[in-house]
């Protein structure tokens, strides 16, 4: 019998899963772990986790992780990578963590061209607090803090911080991917791997923005949530490689 699928056990998946049904975080976690396995770097990896539902990832990851304060993971990772330049260092941050409270930290780490990788989990809301408006919330999107829908006049526009970062000289590789169906998930994994390789080559700052489902926050079923990513979220957040300098 031909084996078409094998469970990755080296870098991740210690048998716990702490997310809502249909949450995209579990997929991210698995992709990151698989890439680390493929690069053979489990024992050289340091994850710096922001504050959100994904802060529980290290319960499942089987490599060293640090918890950062809300928004500050890029500052922490800056020190870690400068002191241990041969390690694989990445931050994992939600859209609230990175694009709201942590805007200064991500911007300046990127400006300095710090040689770590950031994985931005964009689920268009603050999942952990109960689905409140984040900088990435779409116009018209209803959340407990925008009950009539996000209104540009009152709440401002969705933030495309990833596009903003492409303007900075220190930024070498930036891509936006989505976890909505097998084909996009495969592309997401390739982007994460590329970003890590850019880091390992010492080229500069790399980041992958990952559109990921939050059925609980969106008040949608898991299947509807995946459709929403493709049909709605990607209209404001188009997928693809946004910057790849000499990669």
């Amino acid at each position: 019998m031909q084996q078409v699928f094998a469970q990755s056990m080296a870098a991740a998946l210690q048998g716990r899963y702490d997310y809502c049904a249909g949450c995209g975080h579990g997929i991210t976690l698995r992709l990151v772990a698989e890439v680390i396995d493929e690069l053979g770097l489990r024992e050289q990896t340091i994850g710096v986790l922001g504050v959100g539902c994904y802060s529980t990832n290290p319960v499942t990851f089987r490599f060293d992780c640090q918890l950062a304060l809300h928004g500050r993971a890029p500052a922490m990772a800056t020190a870690v990578k400068r002191l241990l330049p041969d390690r694989l260092v990445f931050t994992m941050q939600g859209d609230g963590d990175l694009a709201a409270i942590g805007t200064a930290e991500i911007l300046h780490a990127a400006m300095r061209g710090e040689r770590f990788t950031t994985l931005l989990l964009n689920n268009a809301n603050f999942g952990e607090t109960g689905g409140h408006m984040a900088p990435t919330t779409l116009l018209g999107q209803r959340t407990p803090s925008t009950p009539k829908g996000r209104d540009a006049e009152q709440h401002g526009y969705p933030t495309r911080i990833t596009e903003m970062l492409t303007l900075l000289d220190g930024v070498v590789y930036v891509a936006r991917v989505a976890l909505s169906k097998p084909s996009t998930i495969a592309r997401a994994k390739a982007a994460i791997k590329k970003a890590f390789q850019v880091q390992l080559a010492g080229k500069g700052f790399s980041m992958v923005e990952i559109l990921t489902a939050c059925p609980s926050g969106w008040r949608l079923s898991p299947v509807e949530a995946l459709k929403w990513i493709d049909e709605v979220q990607t209209k404001t957040y188009p997928l693809g490689e946004l910057k790849a300098v000499g990669v």
């Binding site: 702490d18 489990r42 024992e43 050289q44 990896t45 340091i46 710096v48 504050v51 539902c53 802060s55 529980t56 290290p58 319960v59 990851f61 089987r62 490599f63 060293d64 992780c65 640090q66 918890l67 950062a68 304060l69 500050r72 500052a75 922490m76 990772a77 800056t78 020190a79 870690v80 400068r82 002191l83 241990l84 390690r87 200064a104 930290e105 911007l107 300046h108 952990e128």
Partner: protein, 385 residues
């Protein structure tokens, strides 16, 4: 004897840090602490360390958190509002992640933006903690450049021993003082192995800095309970629901041990003292001539000069209080340390305050009359004061 220098206090502290094997400095320019940053900017790279000028003090302190988390001795220097911006992370480093770091706060004139004058207005902020929750930091209040050098080394050593941040509370006047000092020997012992450092899990189990549910054996007392996980309802991970309580009880026990073992204080003429002056840092240094003068006149005046502001020499003060007619606390603020003195004295003697504000410093010619006046007062048992 080590290298002797004629050097400004800010720069001396950085040199002492290098001798303490500190190899990471992050900072943001903030008068009157900026010379620390200048000194570190060229000296840290020279000794193979890392120096970063960050975009804000918020970023600075979180960089320190990263450096400490990989086991590297680290420091920053700031002032006033810059120190305020760091408090969230200081609280986290002290109370949750239990990470060692040395933070120099060169007090300027507060509150708020304030000005550049020397004050001791940050006493409460340093000793009580400006961040959220129950925690303590080691706090040192040096009075001379030499002492600043000595307590810098001590701060690095104790910060590692207890896995906690240490604050050096300087002020503008001390910071701008240039005088001779002996840098002394490099700090001994060498940095202890930091089993908890998250440097990659080669040859061991992975660590989630502060991850609950792991058996750290003899190090269990230092294991930080990860509160995020607890708040997320994961405290049950091989734990009872009291993980957070157990963590806090451990922390409280650590603080009791520090209070019992790490008080540093200078005393003068306490044996026969009827009046005891309590002062720290620059205030203490400036009023020494006043004390000498009134003693020469026959007044029996002694001095208690806390070098550690936390832990505070409460025990010593409580011990001498019954045989003292009165205490005079001299501070360059509205009266902050005086509260600690009153708590320690516990009503056994009257406690008076000599306060200077807004950058005015206590002058011997003003303090000596205050001491004479106190000595002339009829003895009043404390219960009626």
């Amino acid at each position: 004897m080590g290298r002797k220098l004629f050097i400004n206090c800010n720069r001396a502290i950085v040199e002492a840090a290098i001798l303490s094997h500190c190899r990471f400095f992050a900072g943001y320019p903030f008068t009157p602490a900026t010379e620390c940053l200048e000194q570190a900017s060229h000296r840290f790279p020279e000794v193979g360390g890392v120096y970063i000028q960050a975009e804000s003090e918020v970023s600075v302190i979180n960089m320190l958190m990263g450096a400490a988390a990989v086991g590297v001795r680290c420091m920053t220097a700031t002032s006033g509002a810059g120190f305020s911006l760091m408090q969230e992370a200081v609280s986290h480093m002290a109370g949750i992640a239990e990470l060692p770091a040395v933070i120099v706060n060169v007090s300027r004139g507060g509150p708020g933006f304030g000005n550049l004058a020397p004050t001791q207005g940050d006493y409460f902020q340093a000793t009580r903690g400006g961040g959220a929750g129950d925690y303590r930091c080691l706090v040192f209040g040096p009075a001379t450049v030499q002492e600043a050098v000595d307590v810098t080394k001590l701060a690095f050593s104790l910060a590692d021993t207890y896995r906690t941040p240490a604050i050096i509370l300087s002020d503008q006047m001390l910071a701008e003082t240039t005088e001779a000092c002996d840098l002394g020997e490099p700090l001994e012992p060498a940095p202890p192995p930091k089993w908890w450092a998250t440097t990659g899990c080669r040859g061991r189990e992975p660590i989630y800095l502060g991850r609950p549910g792991k058996d750290y054996g003899p190090y269990a007392e230092y294991l930080s309970g990860n509160l995020t996980l607890n708040l997320l309802g994961l405290g049950h991970l091989g734990q009872d629901p009291d993980t957070f309580e157990a963590h806090m009880l451990r922390l409280a026990e650590k603080y009791r041990r520090i209070e019992a073992e790490e008080v540093r204080v200078e005393t003068r003429d306490l044996d026969d003292a009827e009046l005891v002056v309590v002062a720290f840092g620059t205030a203490a240094r400036l009023i020494l001539p006043a004390i000498a003068q009134v003693r020469a006149e026959g007044l029996r005046v002694g001095l208690i000069r806390p070098i550690t502001l936390w832990p505070f020499p409460s025990q010593l003060i409580a011990t001498v209080a019954p045989r003292v007619r009165a205490f005079l606390v001299v501070e360059m603020n509205m009266g902050q340390m005086v509260e600690d003195v009153r708590l320690a004295v516990a009503g056994q003697a009257p406690v008076h305050l000599f306060s200077t504000l807004g950058g005015v410093v206590p002058r011997p010619e003003a303090v000596a009359p205050a001491l004479r006046q106190l000595a002339a007062q009829p003895y009043a048992p404390a219960s009626r004061v």
